[in-house]
Symmetry: C2
Subunit: 402 residues, 2 copies
């Protein structure tokens, strides 16, 4: 190994997905370790539409750990980033001490440069921290040659990040131990399990930023007796029901439980003191629209779920996507009917019957929704093999295009 | 008694108040008897601002029972009206059979004409059925010479009507018996107890009619596990706390519990499937405004409560009314700054400091609130002695002015 090669950074680039919980996580029993008060279950969204890409480089020439997020250098001393770095390095040391021959011993003492970008605007309000921390942990693990249970580390970056460590349908088992070692993610079914399932993200028109989820869930845990009841007595039964619905691909059961759990999460936000509102008038109208659409057909064809913001995530089956997307466009007429309204997987254009429009019978809400991203369940984090895709130059600094 | 006098109707006119619950009633365990799943507590509003007036006439010349509500004849066969008529006549028969000498035996066999009006627009969305049924039962009782526990009868007209049978601070004890005889209202403190307490009704701009409370609470009882938990495990403790706060005139304790209980009620509506939304964007903004106002002063000066609609009921103390009303006008600028915006008890005009406006820091929401009714706690139902105030003519038909 020449001196030149010794200075050239060791570099790995990976991508990781966003996930959307259908049994919601809200509330920690341990703030530092990020241990939740209840288990949760999510669907991993496909990275063709929504993903984080992260490059991690190590070099003996780097003088300090550094991080760039979406083109801007950020403070690496952020406690949650430090938790992930510390835990990965601890595992790497453990492997070296256990005598793993494949481990590059020098790398462990090197500083890292981290560069991360999302392929979707942060302003879209699509909880990007889950994809971000999953990608960070997955990439660091590859760089340091660490294998095994990584979701417990991702969890310490951002709770829901542990679920982004797997594709398809993923549960985060709350665990019982004080040290959090049993609070981890497990794949329930892979992304290939339910190919008919489709997901639409309805990006609501920019609203003021509401209460952040970290401080919001703290206030909820402190003040909402309904949240305590939910965590203690409701969620465990719902986890069993949801896993069964997913396994059986029982759309009506999956859809109804998804809607009920989203509503119950927002109910506990309203029971928080002072109350937290994440659903605005557009969200309420999407909820009304979904129920009226289902009622019109006398079956549950579509479900909604809302996280800590006004955007709706819609679940439906492939055969209903075209019509429902048209329904959304009809009741939330966009500024222009251009193609900008539809992003992601191609959707056929259909026309709506007057009977359906009248059956729904809501007052259209112009410009309530900015655009729709059409996607589906997708795989977990991946390594990007093409070296031209690295986000850092051989000097270990972000490429200009980032 | 001459034949002419025999035909002249026996006529009584009474008034009854609206009440606003601070521990909310939502959900019945018996639909027909109107037995609630939890106790509740309310403040009776003063009749100078909001009241129902009812005249009941009996005459041997009337051929059938008839009823006019707000100038329009309605179907007397409505089950809840029939419940009240039946129960009052049963009590009257019981008294006659028990040999009460003061009872006009003839009256019992006569038909009744009932005429009822509110001094506030129904469109204001101020649960008028409580005042209406309280007034009906109170007036019928006077006509038939019935005394004693009338709140159990008013309860069978409209649950919350039982609380309008008393002035001041009133609890509706849920009771345990299947026949409902122990599900009744009791005065906790009279209206004179807390003279500094002031109440503002913020009438939100007319929204579409949402789910009615009767069917809404049915759906909630069937589908919301959070409502069940609230009724089984939360409300009884809150009743004790609320009665203590009222007895001690502890405004911060009263105010915080009032807000928490309103929020919890609306949380159970959101946990209902399909979910019920009574709070619109104006309601959410009033809630934000109240919390920011209290936060600005570092003490709880103002509280909100919302029933099954978007109107806010504000509780505060006399010394804060002028400023808070001005704050509402500032953040919900009315169409014109005319006097039409302020109704009820006179409110001094003050000017707001820039510090306060900036401290609250909300975006004003023009025309969000139509008007404010300023009122206070008031007495229970009263007899109107002035015969010119009867709503029926000596023929037993509504006066033209009704």
């Amino acid at each position: 190994v020449s001196a030149e090669n010794m200075d050239k950074p060791h570099m790995v680039t990976c991508t990781a997905p966003v996930n959307i919980a259908v049994i919601k996580y809200w509330g920690k029993r341990n703030e530092e370790l990020i241990l939740p008060i209840n288990s949760s279950l999510s669907v991993t969204l496909h990275q063709d539409q929504l993903k984080t890409t992260t490059t991690v480089a190590t070099s003996r020439s780097f003088e300090e750990d550094r991080i760039w997020l979406n083109g801007k250098e950020e403070d690496i001393s952020h406690p949650r980033i430090q938790s992930c770095l510390r835990e990965i390095r601890r595992l790497a040391r453990k492997r070296r001490n256990d005598g793993d021959p494949g481990l590059d011993s020098a790398t462990l003492s090197h500083k890292v440069h981290i560069c991360s970008v999302n392929n979707f605007p942060t302003a879209a309000g699509l909880a990007s921290s889950a994809a971000g921390f999953a990608c960070l942990v997955y990439t660091l693990a590859r760089v340091f040659g660490v294998e095994g249970e990584l979701s417990v580390i991702a969890r310490q970056g951002s709770g829901s990040a542990c679920r982004s460590m797997y594709g398809g349908f993923v549960q985060w088992i709350m665990g019982l131990q004080d040290d959090g070692k049993d609070s981890l993610a497990q794949q329930v079914e892979p992304e290939t399990h339910w190919p008919e399932l489709r997901i639409l993200v309805l990006v609501a028109s920019a609203a003021r930023k509401s209460v952040g989820s970290t401080s919001g869930m703290q206030t909820s845990v402190q003040s909402s007796c309904l949240l305590k009841h939910r965590a203690d007595s409701v969620v465990s039964g719902r986890m069993v029901e949801m896993i069964e619905a997913v396994r059986k691909k029982d759309f009506p059961a999956f859809a109804e439980l998804t809607m009920k759990d989203s509503n119950q999460f927002h109910a506990t936000c309203l029971d928080t003191y002072p109350p937290i509102f994440y659903l605005n008038s557009v969200s309420q109208q999407v909820i009304n629209l979904v129920h009226r659409y289902n009622q019109h057909y006398g079956e549950t064809r579509v479900a909604y779920s809302f996280d800590a913001g006004p955007n709706a995530v819609i679940f439906t089956l492939q055969k209903h996507v075209s019509e429902f997307v048209q329904v959304v466009q009809h009741f939330f007429p966009p500024e222009t009917n251009g193609e900008d309204f539809f992003k992601g997987l191609a959707v056929n254009r259909v026309s709506l019957s007057d009977e359906l429009k009248q059956g729904i019978g809501l007052e259209p809400m112009p410009k309530g929704i900015n655009y729709i991203i059409s996607t589906k369940a997708g795989p977990g984090p991946c390594v990007v093999k093409d070296p031209t895709q690295h986000l850092l130059t051989s000097d270990g600094l972000p490429k200009k295009t980032v």
